[in-house]
Subunit: 140 residues, 2 copies
């Protein structure tokens, strides 16, 4: 009988292991101008919209602010995205990278089983990994 050689694979990097920034949130009835200010002050592009319990209700990005400017909208509820693509803390980063590509987005809120926002993972966080990998002398 023939046995396959043992395949040794380094375990995948998980979303929870990424160095992502603390998550900044907003609420549905906040003013668009205040949301824009939060983005600028915190140097970020993605803000999850949550209810009073911290449950995810939507997401607003700087691209949505550009959309508001382009179409003359002034209310957050008119530009936020309600059907949010999310990530779980225990998902491998490569799966999330493919999700970002598939939906042509640049970041996803990380949620728990109750859809409570735990963090945010962006293409910038994932791109950072590529810099790290090569830095350690491992080619891709």
């Amino acid at each position: 009988c023939s046995t396959k050689p043992l395949e040794i694979r380094k375990p995948s990097i998980m979303v929870r292991e990424l160095e992502s920034k603390p998550v900044i949130i907003t609420h549905e009835d906040d003013r668009l101008k205040d949301v824009a200010r939060k983005m600028v002050e915190n140097n970020i592009n993605h803000i999850p919209v949550v209810d009073s319990e911290g449950i995810l209700k939507g997401i607003v990005t700087s691209w949505d602010i550009a959309d508001a400017v382009a179409r003359g909208k002034t209310r957050l509820r008119d530009v936020m995205t309600r059907k949010v693509i999310v990530a779980g803390e225990n998902e491998p980063v490569d799966v999330v990278a493919r999700r970002i590509d598939k939906y042509n987005i640049s970041g996803l809120p990380i949620v728990d089983e109750e859809n409570r926002v735990k963090g945010i993972v962006t293409a910038e966080d994932i791109s950072r990994l590529i810099g790290k990998i090569e830095n350690r002398g491992e080619s891709i």
Copy 2:
């Protein structure tokens, strides 16, 4: 005498090999509203600002549009960034990934020796690589 075993390394992926989108440009005297519209219509976040010869003069991102909303600015020249961090077509992607991390930006115009804009490379383009690597069965 002892000889080291031959070290075989896959060559680094170069910026020119990334699947990036065609570059959309703007000019310094364009209206901010038109710039925002360009972002929305083309589903992008970064627009290089060029002169009539195609020479790079600055960059404007959706984050700058948020900045304009936050501070009530309406002119492109008041929110665009003039000191632009760039990438060359023949640079390895990991070097560019580290540059993105270092400057806390999410995209860089690709320029030639004369500072003419040839393309754009974003954290999303680089993040896509992580999805591809794992897809081919190579762990990171």
